[in-house]
């Protein structure tokens, strides 16, 4: 006969309520672990869809995600020419926040070369971008319909395709436009600003009295061409030819001095270690606190339920029950409470995790680990009750 189960069955109301409470706590612990995994997943999402071996970024920066990086678009040709490089493509990244239907609407805009790689992964609905201008592919999470228009910079963009799960390292859903459009959106000023700039340049040049009218015109055109150039990207990504040495190619690119060649693995490290380390520690701390709270609750529950059973324990001892019978009853109760609470927490999160604003990724390893930890906590928490029970004297069974 299992005393732990009999006791629980008899006091099932109390037991179930406690387990639900603990289950909610453990649910939060599970979701926090899932949020952390989600952070990593989100952080690496762009890397994973881009599938580049090398990220060429501005010298001395950890760009383009952790720091800003600006490099000229045309170095893509030089990088393509590096021995060991199979392909290279320019990419531009920017976070955009606009008002949409009266609410802030945030997303991560990726500009890519329509003939290169780094564009959207599988298209779920609609099609890929075909025209050089004013077409857009958005992630499903942006909740935009095909054909919908959105105003960015100076123009309207039409959603032509929906792609799957791509997010920025901070969890904003991604949208794709052609590189030229992205540069436009990022750098093109409105006409007033351009006119002002041109007039300022014109005024400055006209002060140089030795210039002829033709020379003035020529100079002005050249200067505005350079200053208005939008042929800037945030990174050029490269894929290695089969058999090429990553390290050697990195070395070759780095030797130009003006650029840094970051391997995909290094980029992943920058994104995870650097950018979400604090979030990880924060979540870890919360998880520990919640587990400690759970341990305290379990201890208290087990301790008070042991106090309730002093007479039962004394009677059992008096009629000759071995200590293991009594220890077993308390320990099993504690473990059972842990199992049920864990199950409740797990079911709760399994049913709801897709509705969380941040992505939650439930890894089997994390779940198993947490289960083991919960079991250890239950064991340790039952010690106070067990200690109390072992101190009970059989004589306490006597009297009224």
């Amino acid at each position: 006969m299992n005393l732990a189960i009999r006791d629980i069955r008899y006091h099932r109301g109390r037991f179930i309520l406690t387990s639900i409470g603990l289950g909610l706590l453990l649910g939060v612990v599970i979701s926090m672990g899932g949020i952390y995994r989600g952070l990593i997943d989100d952080a690496l999402a762009v890397l994973n869809v881009t599938k580049a071996d090398i990220w060429v970024v501005q010298q001395d920066t950890n760009g383009p995600f952790a720091e800003s990086s600006r490099i000229p678009e045309d170095i893509k040709y030089r990088i393509k020419g590096v021995p060991g490089v199979a392909d290279a493509a320019p990419l531009s990244f920017q976070t955009i926040q606009i008002e949409r239907e009266g609410r802030p609407f945030r997303f991560f805009l990726i500009g890519y070369d329509l003939n290169g790689f780094g564009g959207p992964p599988a298209i779920l609905a609609g099609r890929n971008i075909r025209q050089k201008h004013y077409e857009m592919v958005v992630a499903k999470a942006m909740k935009m319909a095909l054909g919908e228009k959105i105003h960015l910079g100076l123009h309207d963009y039409t959603v032509v395709g929906i792609t799957g799960k791509v997010v920025s390292s901070s969890g904003d859903p991604a949208a794709y436009v052609s590189l030229a459009d992205a540069q436009d959106i990022q750098f093109k000023k409105d006409n007033d600003a351009i006119r002002n700039d041109r007039e300022r340049v014109g005024a400055n040049i006209s002060r140089i009295q030795t210039l002829s009218q033709a020379q003035t015109k020529f100079l002005q055109k050249n200067i505005t061409d350079i200053t208005e150039s939008t042929h800037i990207v945030n990174a050029v990504v490269a894929r290695l030819a089969p058999g090429a040495s990553l390290h050697e190619v990195q070395e070759r690119i780095a030797r130009w001095n003006h650029f840094r060649a970051i391997s995909d693995a290094e980029q992943a490290k920058i994104l995870t270690k650097g950018m979400i380390e604090k979030a990880r520690m924060q979540l870890g701390l919360f998880r520990i606190i919640l587990l400690v709270i759970s341990a305290v609750i379990i201890s208290l529950i087990i301790y008070t339920s042991t106090l309730d059973k002093i007479k039962v324990i004394a009677t059992l001892k008096l009629i000759g029950a071995q200590n293991q019978v009594i220890v077993g009853m308390i320990l099993q109760q504690s473990m059972l409470m842990g199992v049920i609470a864990y199950t409740i927490g797990y079911i709760l999160i399994s049913l709801t995790y897709e509705k969380f604003p941040r992505r939650i990724v439930l890894e089997p390893f994390d779940l198993q680990m947490l289960f083991v930890i919960v079991m250890v906590i239950c064991m340790i928490s039952s010690f106070v009750g067990i200690r109390k029970a072992l101190k009970v004297e059989p004589a306490e069974a006597l009297g009224g």
Binding site: Y10, V312, L398
Partner: protein, 230 residues
């Protein structure tokens, strides 16, 4: 052979100035099948005597033999497994029935057998038979809360009988019952003593309850002051 033999049994609680001599120099012998009462006022040392015999509290001086085995000789006999001895040789009945609230009547009897290494199915068969013999067939699956005082005490008696003990020790088993139920319990004990050939030692302060007992020891202030055969 005697079921219970005590010789010059003394129990002193505490030390020095605060020492209380709860039992001093008690000597008696009880044969198997005998129903014996210890009668005395509150504080006279009845419970102390019973628990000393029951291997629950350790006597300060003297000897105790149960079923021919010396269990106390100037303190508990070294190396004796008190719990094992209790569950094999002794049955206990309490003032409050002390049934386990979360076990049914049947399970309350079974647990006493299971801790004495009977299998669950053996225990179930035996517990059922025992409860039936005490007219509790209809109460097998009732929880103690749902039992009347008399029923609960009979379940407790069944539990005391679970392992066929040589000696049954009962501390005020009728204190929580009305006179009629109390008398029923006592006459049940009388029957059991005869049928099971076990010695039953009952502590009470109520002289009306000792009707039909084989012997009655009077205690007062820790001393046995007289013996009576009603």
């Amino acid at each position: 052979m005697y079921a219970i033999e005590i010789e010059r049994l003394t129990k002193i609680y505490g030390k020095g100035e605060t020492a209380v001599t709860a039992i001093s120099d008690a000597t008696f012998r009880i044969k198997p099948g005998e129903l014996v009462a210890i009668l005395g006022p509150s504080g006279s040392g009845k419970t102390t005597l019973l628990t000393a015999i029951g291997l629950i509290n350790e006597p300060t001086h003297g000897k105790v033999l149960i079923d021919g085995t010396t269990v106390v000789d100037e303190g508990w006999r070294p190396g004796l497994d008190l719990k094992q001895f209790r569950r094999e040789k002794l049955g206990f009945i309490f003032q409050a029935h002390n049934l386990i609230p979360f076990l049914t009547a049947q399970e309350n009897v079974m647990i006493a057998m299971e801790i004495n290494h009977l299998t669950s199915s053996e225990a179930k068969t035996r517990a059922t038979a025992l409860l039936k013999s005490l007219n509790l067939d209809h109460r097998l699956n009732s929880y103690p809360m749902a039992l009347s005082g008399g029923e609960a005490q009979r379940v407790a008696i069944a539990r005391a009988l679970a392992n066929n003990p040589k000696v049954i020790l009962a501390d005020e088993p009728t204190a929580a019952l009305d006179t009629e139920n109390g008398k029923n319990v006592m006459s049940l004990l009388k029957t059991l003593a005869v049928e099971n050939h076990s010695a039953i030692l009952v502590v009470t302060h109520d002289h009306r309850m000792v009707e039909g007992f084989d012997r009655v020891f009077h205690v007062s202030d820790g001393k046995i002051t007289g013996e009576e055969r009603p």
